[in-house]
Each structure stands twice: as structure tokens, then as C-alpha cells.
Symmetry: C2
């Protein structure tokens, strides 16, 4: 009896809110929980481990948890941590290793920015960048190597022009080219600019490879640095989770090292890249989860077709602006089916890139055959990435097969200047067709495809709710029938993204037992006009109850 | 062969667009069709009978139909005719027989408005009105009969105060009271205001019946006049269809007379009122349709419970602001089931008023039992009217049973000042829960419940897209997660309302073979900010290709 009494006392102590378990009471003007049972509360309590214990009225919770620390966020609005359901973390990090020169209005400004950026670089490491445009400069003339040499006599410098069709090297970089750039020869498909036979430093199109082939492969330290920068960038934009859309096993190992070292500030759900080493790892070992819960892998990413802008997306009929071309499958249908069957056998979630209506149909066909009778059960949570141009009759198939449409609102607003040219007025009805998917009962997981688009999820919320570009064009939105409400957009970036990552019991909404992953905003995203979603102020990002970004 | 050649030639002539079949080409800045295959076009062609022949580009259609008359609507936007899925046409008409005095700032203004209104009344007919408020007048004193007698010495006048708790009669009206109003007696529950024993003309609460009991019953001529006024009011607000939520057989007959005489400017889908003579007519004769296609009846309306404002809606638990009261069923569950079985047997669509969560559950139970295995087939299109407060777990039942939720956006914004008081913060999550219904796969037919709310569907579109009142409160909307996009709101007032009335093959969208029912707006409702939906400019309303309202 003694033991059980003691045990009971212990249990009572553990269960009692009076015991100091390192609880924190977070209060704000409003906390949008994304929990249907109580969508808005004034406060939540989480324990020291970051587990939410209770939500409700601030005063009532303060009475219930009298020893909790109090984090009063004043007139801020709290929303669940945002989850980007489709991004490329290393790609994002690598863009952060490059200096961004777009919009600068003179060489002095360019040099100033280069010097500041180089201050953080190891000695001798390449300084790379992009975005310069001599048309914005007073003299509108191409720059040359000498402009860079004074500041960077030894460090190689390579800067791509804004359009990507020319590069600007300093002398240190040119010296590393495999073949001397001076003389009178020219490479295939490109041009070396010269004065009196001496290369000026500007190389056009095919000539750029002469410098880029001389750059060192990515070393581990640089890759780590890129990843750290990408992660930092993500949490600074309110992301608490990212689905990394395809990595090799080596990248999973890098993530594991980061997780072991406590260097993952957000939750990464990484997918195996194609039928490669990471998929074999999953088939051998089963779904992977790091003990910190910050890293998971249980999915495989495959590319079915190309992209729309370059007319590589596979269409059922010719491109409207390129007769005779209907794009191409980058993975043959039979191979898609083979991988789908392997994924099914291994219990792995499949996430397939499909942009064109033919690409999507082939994926639907492969999924249908591989999933068989299990399709309708939907526990598989298989996904189609982008689901960009879909035949109207195929949209209900997503619902019947229990698939998730993983879509990127900013793709619609980036592509809208030319998308109708590509596919014409009929097929465009099934393009970026968020409302039709939702009306068909299909779950939408939203993301950005960073670094193809900005990592900033505010731009995604804005694009979803307005179908307008950053300048507010076209007025009223492009195919406005497909708009989502701000709440639906938020749901796509929280609860439904969590579901797509098998994580809706942990994150995606703020509810008892879930993780205290949340974003602190100065404004209420459900109250501001849709046009203001892109300029929401992100004051802080919390993961497991700890600030991983704080701008206050 | 001769005959068949002739027939073929005739067919070719009929089929040829060159034949003048009284075609009209309607062009506008944009025509939103609500047809998913091509949501926006520049022009449509309809024949003389009002049947849409083609939609597309204006120049192409002009070439294809060279002899068509051209109606160029310039920079206007055309949308499908709006359908109010729940209104009371006679009720609307009767309000138009009364003069509206609210907001007037003195007796002189009141008398001026009364005189203008009386000019259209037959001699001797009662002049009735409501809305006066002596607190808005300079002297803030109750009026008296003498104020009215000079202008109306013979015509009885009866004017209810803005709050409905007092009335103002002239001497001619007081003379018609069954018992002389002078003296010192007072009626139960009311008060006759007197000076020196003489009634002043103002009667309070229970005393109002002394005048109102003396008013003649509605005669046929007046009822016809009310109906005509109601119909005129409806088309002036862009309505081309109304579901009349429960009428006796006599009202169907009145509608038939109007239809025979070409006096129905819009399509009326009338429902039989309860288990009465109109339902028996349907059971005996089958679904009714007038040859003009302007009048249909194939449904029965039943009331399951009361209203929320008066705490008569049936709740599963007590009212949050009235412990011990959980409202009441106005039709017992067993009786609901009996009528549902009768409706099923007669092939009649059932449309049941249910406001509270208990009211809704009893209706769901009755429908489920009556429909049996046919429920999932959904061909029945049974409806729940208002579906106002629904237990969260009951919302998916609407989808499983194939039911239509017939909801009124303005009810949400009218009720929001006190709705949380009535049901508390938990049950409010299932209140006016448009998004949850749509997410559960339930079709939403939208309406106004006029004259309870304004007949103006612009207010419904605005309420649906903003969840704000007419002054824009609360900022960002009340429970904003339930907002609809402008397009979804429009769909609820067009295609989905048409579906709820078994009419989606005729109306609800603009597509070949459908009727040319449309509204001409100065603004594009899919492009304006949601806040501007309530002030869209209705320039004209067309039914069967003919203008039934024209403000140009």
C-alpha cells in the first residue's frame, strides 16, 4: 500500500498544475489555432519540452497554472508555425552563399556589397553572385575585371548578369580557367569579350562555362554553411517546417549531423531523391525519424515531366504556342509504375513532380495501378507535386485515389504572364486550379518550391488569396474563381501541409498534446485585406516553445 | 426522296446560323459564365426564345451569327441571373404595401411620405406603415391622431413604431375599432394613451390589436398587387429566380394566374407549405411546371424548430444565456418522419427549416430514416433550410445523406451581435459554418430569407465574403475562417441554388442550351474588393433574353 500511495502522490504531483514543470503561458491579442473546435483563443500553456498543455482564456489559464512563466505577446497575433510543403533546403542555402546584386545602380554600390559579403568568407574562397545589370548604371557599359581587381586581387570573383546570359570575372578567376582566355579564339555557343586580344572579364553564354568549370566542387564545410544559412532564412520567414523535395542519402546524413548537434531550428521532412540510395535506405530500414523529432524521412520524390516555362511539361496535346511540341516525360510511365510499386512495397509515401496534364495523368495512372484496392483508403497520403495543369476530368481522380495536391501559389502568379500562351484558354481552366481541387474534396498542401520562388510564405498566402502579382496585377486577380480565402491559404500552409507530412498529430494546429510551434505576427492575417498578406510582420518564430527567430 | 430532301433542306436552314432566327449577340467587357469549362467570355448569342446558342469571343460570334442583333453592354460585367434559394415572395410584397418611415426626422417628413404613398392606393384602403420614432423628431413627443386627420380625414391610417411596440392611428382608423377607445378602460397587456378620457391615437403593446383586428383580411386584388410589387422588387435587385419557401395551394394558383398572364418576370420555384393542400396536390398530380417554365413546384417546406433570436431554436443543451431553456421543436420528430416518408413516397423534395443543433439533428435523423438506402444517391436533393447551428459531428452527415445546406449569409451578420451569447463559444463553431460545410463536400445554396432580411442579394454576397456588417464591423469579419470567396458566394446564388431547385440544366450558369437569364453589373464582382460587393451597380436584369429590369 505504501508504494502505491507514494506512486499516487507522485502521479498527483506530476499531474498537478501547481507543480513547476517549467510551464510557459503564452498570451496574445489572439491565437488562431486552426483547430476547428476552438479556432481562436487568448492564451496557451506549454511545458518545458514544448508540448502544449492547454488553450483558452488567459486569465483562466493563469489561475490554473499559477507558476507558469508568462510570455505576454501584447497585441500580436499568433498562428501555428508555417510549413512549406515543397522546398529545396540546400538550394536555398546555396543562393545565400552568393551575393545578390540585382537593382544596384552603379559599380560603387556593387563593390560595396561585394566587400561586405566577402568579410564572412574564408580566405581564398570564391566570391560568387548574380543580378548585376549595367543598364541600371550611369555609363550603361559592361564592367571589366579591373573594376574588381583592386578590391579582390587574390580571391576569385564570378558574378552572373541578371539574365544569366553573361558573367563578370576578376583576374584571379580568369587565371583559373583551364584555357587562357586571351587571344582570338571563341568557345562554341559563347563569346569572350576582349580588347586588343585581352579578355575584359565579361563572358557571354557558352563562354561562362570556362570560368564555372574551374570552380571547386562543393566541400563539406561550405555545404554545412549553406544549409545553416538556408535554415536560418526559413525560420526568419515564419517557417517551422519544411518538406525537402528530394535529397540523396548524403544529405540525410548531413541533416542527421545537424539534428544531433541541435542545429535544426525547424522540422525537416526530407524525401528520398528518386530511386537512389536514400530510397534503398528507407526500404531497408523503414521510415526514419530523428529522436529530436526535427527530422523525418518516409517518402520518395520522382520527376514525371519538365516545366511549363521551358515547354518541358508533358501535355496531352501540343503546346498552344509551339505546335508539334507536347513536352516530355522525364520518367517513362513504365518506370513511374515500377518505382510506385517499389514505394508501395516499402511502405513509402510517393511524391511525384507533375506539371503538364499528360504528366499528371500518367502519375494518376501509375498511382492507381500501384495502390490498387488500397487507393481509396488514403492512409498512403501519396502526393502529386505542383499538379499544375490537370485535365478537368482528372481532378476528381485525386479525390478518388486519396491523393494530396501539393501546390505552390506563387507559381500561378509567376507563370500567369505566359501560362495561357502555353496551354490556351481551355486547358488553363485546369491550371493552378486550387478551388476546383478543394471543391472536389482534395486536400491542398501549399508550399513555395524555394529557391525557385521566394522562401517567404507570406508571398504564398498573398498569391493564394489574391491571384495577383506583387504590384497588384491583374486587378481582382488572375482567374479569380480559383482564389482561396486567407484562412484556406493558412490551412494549406499549416494543417494540411502537416497532414501531407504525416505530422498532423504533432503540428499544423495548436491543440493540447501538440508541439508549441508558432509564429508571432504584428497583424491578424485573417483580418487584414488580402493585399496586406504579403507584408505581414513576422515578429518571432517558435519551435517546441523556444524562439528560433526573434525580431523583437 | 423528295420529302426527305425537303426535310433535310429545312433542317439545314434551321441549323444554319445564317437563317434569321431572331438571334441576339450580347457582348460585354466580360461575361462570367459560372461554367467551369470557360468561366469568362466576351459574348454570348441567344435565340428569340431566350435559349443560349453559343458563347465565346465577340468578333468570332459576330462572324458566325452575322444577322444577329447586337446588344453591346460596353464596359459592363455580365453574371448569370441570381437565384435566391429561400425567400417569401408574398411577405416581400406585403412589406411593399406598407410605407416605411424609419429614419424620418419630423412629422412633416412623415406626412409628406404618407401622402406620396397614398397616391397609389385605392380610395378607402387602409394606409399602413411602420418605422416612426418620435425620438428623432424635434419635440420628441408622441404624435396623435390629429396629426394625421387633416391629410387623411376618411382613409384609415395605422403606423407601427420602429420597435413594433406601439402604433399610431388616425381618427378614421380608431372609429373602426370594435370597442370605442375613449373612456377609462385598458386592454390586457396594453395601454390606450388618452387625454381627458379621449384616445390620442397612440396604442401600446396589447392595445394595438384593437386597431389591427379591425383591418380587413387581404383581398385578392391587394394580394395580387403585393405579389406584383414583390416580383418587381426582386428583379430590380438582380434576381432571376426565387425559391418561395412554403405556400398554400391558393398561392400556387395565384402564381399560375400570373404565369398565364405573362406577369412572372422571374422564375419561381414554390414549395408546398407543410403537409397541406399543396403537398396533396403534388402527391396527386406529381411535380408541377408551368408551360412558360417560370413556375415550378415539387417540394414541401416544414418547420422543425423556432428561431435563435427568440430562443425558440431547438438546442441539444440549454441556451448559454438562458439556463433551463433549450428551445423547442415546432414539429415533433415523429411527425417530421411521417411527413418525410410521405414526401419520399410522393417523389417530393423536402426542405426543412432547422436552426438549432437539435433541430438539425432531428431533421438529419428523419431524412436518414425516410431516405434509407437512397440517401447516398442524392437524386432526392433534400435540403435543410438555414442549417444554422449544427453540431460539428453532424456536418459530414449532410454530405453522406446527399443533402443541400440552404443558408443565408446575412443571417450570420444580423445575428452576430448576440449569437455567441445564445450558444456560447463551443457551439458557435458549428454556426453559420459555410466553410465547414463546403469542406465536408456539402453543396451550399444561398439565399436571404426575405423579407426577414433584405431581398438584395448584393448584401448576401457581401456578408458571405466579408462576415462583416454594413459598417464593416468587426474588422476582418466575424469567425473569418468561415468566409467564402466572392466566386463561391456567387456560385451559391447561381449554380448551386439552381441545383437545389432541380434547374441546373436550365439556369445557374451561362452555357449553350441554357436560358439567357443574366444580370448586367457596372462592376466586376470577382475583381472588386469584397467590401464593395454590397454596392455593386445593377444596371439590368434579363430573363429568357428579355430585360425584366433596366436602370440604364
Amino acid at each position: 500500500m505504501r508504494t502505491s500511495t507514494l506512486a499516487m502522490a507522485l502521479c498527483l504531483a506530476l499531474a498537478s498544475p501547481l507543480a513547476d514543470a517549467g510551464e510557459t503561458l503564452v498570451s496574445a491579442a489572439r491565437i488562431h489555432t486552426m483547430d476547428a473546435a476552438r479556432p481562436t483563443v487568448g492564451a496557451l500553456v506549454h511545458d518545458d519540452d514544448g508540448r502544449i498543455l492547454a488553450l483558452g482564456d488567459s486569465a483562466a489559464l493563469a489561475a490554473e497554472y499559477p507558476r507558469a512563466k508568462h510570455l505576454d505577446l501584447g497585441d500580436a497575433t499568433v498562428i501555428p508555425g508555417l510549413i512549406d510543403a515543397h522546398g529545396h533546403m540546400m538550394g536555398l542555402g546555396l543562393t545565400r552563399l552568393r551575393v545578390h546584386l540585382s537593382g544596384l545602380r552603379g559599380k560603387a554600390e556593387v563593390l560595396e556589397k561585394l566587400r561586405a559579403f566577402a568579410a564572412d568568407l574564408p580566405p581564398g574562397a570564391w566570391l560568387t553572385g548574380r543580378g548585376w545589370d549595367q543598364n541600371l548604371w550611369p555609363d550603361k557599359r559592361f564592367p571589366d575585371a579591373a573594376d574588381l581587381d583592386a578590391a579582390f586581387p587574390d580571391r576569385p570573383v564570378w558574378l552572373r548578369r541578371v539574365d544569366g546570359h553573361a558573367g563578370w570575372a576578376n583576374t584571379a578567376a580568369m587565371k583559373l580557367a583551364k584555357r587562357p582566355l586571351d587571344g582570338d579564339w571563341q568557345p562554341a555557343g559563347g563569346r569572350i569579350l576582349r580588347e586588343h586580344g585581352k579578355a575584359t572579364g565579361v563572358l557571354v553564354d557558352g563562354a561562362m562555362a570556362l570560368i564555372e568549370d574551374a570552380m571547386p566542387a562543393l566541400d563539406e564545410a561550405t555545404a554545412d554553411r549553406a544549409l545553416a544559412l538556408g535554415l536560418r532564412d526559413a525560420v526568419a520567414h515564419g517557417l517551422t517546417g519544411v518538406h525537402d523535395a528530394g535529397v540523396p542519402l548524403a544529405q540525410l546524413r548531413r541533416y542527421q549531423r545537424f539534428a544531433d548537434a541541435g542545429r535544426l531550428p525547424l522540422r525537416v521532412t526530407a524525401w528520398a531523391e528518386g530511386d537512389g540510395d536514400a530510397l534503398d535506405f528507407l526500404c531497408d530500414e523503414g521510415p526514419y525519424q530523428h529522436p529530436s523529432r526535427r527530422l523525418k524521412m518516409r517518402s520518395v520524390k520522382v520527376y514525371a515531366d519538365g516545366a511549363l516555362g521551358s515547354r518541358g511539361a508533358a501535355l496531352l496535346a501540343d503546346y498552344s504556342d509551339d505546335r508539334g511540341n507536347h513536352g516530355l516525360m522525364t520518367t517513362a510511365p513504365a518506370e513511374l509504375l515500377r518505382i510506385a510499386r517499389k514505394a508501395r512495397r516499402c511502405g513509402v509515401q510517393m511524391a511525384t513532380h507533375a506539371i503538364g496534364d499528360a504528366g499528371n495523368r500518367h502519375v494518376l495512372d501509375a498511382y492507381e495501378r500501384a495502390l490498387g484496392a488500397d487507393a481509396a483508403k488514403a492512409g498512403h497520403r501519396w502526393r502529386i507535386e505542383h499538379a499544375q495543369i490537370v485535365a478537368l476530368e482528372d481532378i476528381p481522380r485525386f479525390a478518388r485515389l486519396g491523393l494530396i495536391a501539393s501546390m505552390q501559389p506563387t507559381h500561378a502568379t509567376s507563370d500567369m504572364p505566359w501560362a495561357v500562351d502555353r496551354v490556351g484558354p481551355a486547358r488553363i481552366q485546369g491550371a493552378y486550379a486550387w478551388r476546383k481541387f478543394r471543391d472536389a474534396g482534395v486536400r491542398l498542401a501549399l508550399g513555395s518550391d524555394f529557391p525557385i520562388e521566394s522562401v517567404d510564405p507570406r508571398l504564398g498566402l498573398y498569391a493564394a488569396a489574391t491571384r495577383m502579382d506583387d504590384e497588384g496585377r491583374p486587378a481582382g486577380g488572375w482567374w479569380p474563381q480559383e482564389k482561396l480565402t486567407a484562412w484556406e491559404a493558412l490551412r494549406g500552409f499549416t494543417l494540411d501541409a502537416a497532414y501531407a507530412g504525416f505530422a498532423e498529430r504533432e503540428v499544423g494546429s495548436l491543440a493540447p498534446g501538440k508541439r508549441a510551434d508558432f509564429v508571432v505576427l504584428a497583424e491578424d492575417p485573417l483580418a487584414v485585406p488580402a493585399a496586406a498578406l504579403r507584408t505581414l510582420t513576422i515578429k518571432a518564430t517558435y519551435v517546441d516553445g523556444k524562439a528560433v527567430y526573434d525580431a523583437r
